[in-house]
Symmetry: D2
């Protein structure tokens, strides 16, 4: 349903990054942002919400950082390697924190388990992309 790769393929100039890894990163980041937004809200509706406040905060941060990162990676005009690298690093950091926090609740809450997996997949895709940036 997404058109991430077709949009990369129709960009009129050259793209300085591996298109397959870039598309994989953008899709993993957008999927993670959605999962984190939904997990924050699901945590908010748990009876034990008082024990999930750190998870909610980490989810909100991760969603915000992912959203900004997906946008920056979707642009290629006047590419700035320094910014892309710094932001993808920050995104991987957010996913690591959020994945760890969600994993700690994964046995109690299925939404945290799904979200932890989305964070892990996103962190991996970010690190795969970073490896091609240096």
């Amino acid at each position: 349903m997404t058109t991430t790769m077709p949009m990369l393929e129709t960009y009129p100039r050259t793209i300085d990054l591996d298109r397959a890894k870039l598309a994989a990163a953008i899709e993993a980041i957008n999927a993670c942002a959605q999962a984190c937004t939904a997990c924050a809200d699901a945590c908010l509706s748990e009876e034990m919400v008082a024990e999930l406040t750190k998870c909610i905060r980490t989810n909100l941060d991760c969603a915000d950082v992912c959203a900004a990162t997906a946008r920056v990676l979707s642009r290629h005009t006047g590419y700035d390697a320094n910014l892309s690298r710094a932001l993808v690093e920050a995104c991987a950091t957010a996913c690591r924190s959020c994945g760890d926090e969600c994993a700690a609740h994964a046995q109690m809450h299925e939404h945290c388990r799904i979200c932890a997996d989305a964070c892990r997949a996103c962190e991996r895709a970010c690190r795969d992309l970073l490896a091609t940036m240096s």
Copy 2:
């Protein structure tokens, strides 16, 4: 790759909307936001950018409205039908404008054609969801 439906299924309380239509809308909206961000950037790299400025602006607006709408629709705690309806209406309006504008450039620019399709699909998904809200 996305986990929109699994996240809906693991939400711990009732959801006041049709889950299938809701998931379809969230996914179409997120796909549209990505396409619009990428199309704005692709237009920026066309030699004839001076003729694409309205398209770029409409793309940027549509991406922003879609991003906010996908987030609001991903939350179910303390559901507010008035806000959801007003925002999904605004999202459909943004997709209509952006789809029309991109369609006008679709024969010249393949990225505009793909983006126009994403906007049409998103507008349809928003209207399908709106129909279940009243």
Copy 3:
């Protein structure tokens, strides 16, 4: 510290809206977005967080809608009155809901009182701007 009005004054073409009301709306919307983000987090740190979940959700929605609205209103190229009107309406709706919800906790929580005021001011600025749009 903000440069909202100077940026409006240096826009190279005509702007189809009252600049003073537009600048006032953008500033009130951005202030409201910040207050709502901070109020959601402050609620999350209250011992009685379980009684504030609807307030948190409404805060998050209001922040997202305000962020998108401030961006759309900061653009004037290829102005689309239909989208601006629909989005400012949705923003006023979000501020009304969030202002009401925060006001209900204003006596217990000073952050809710401050945030309710920011929402009221934002709703007013949105309605003032809407009055000039028709």
Copy 4:
């Protein structure tokens, strides 16, 4: 008009950062985000838009990174120093790039001059905050 400092003062727990520097950073970041969004649009309406495409792209990136950073810095619950540091670094990087690019057009375009100043102020506020984080 903004309530950044009052919201910090009414946060119910301790905040691990210098409140004055934190408030200054949040305000500078939000002001920069608005200036960058408006500058991208103003560039889009210049007759010589073809020479401003890198400026537009840098403006859009900077606005997105600033928006995410302001939100993360507005949260204190379950504070994660690693993420805050990585993100404020990325924000300073974005402001440096955007400030340099806008400065290159400052003599031709007053909106670029104002935006360059906003980027410089934001980069400084980010670096001041970073200095207190280590």
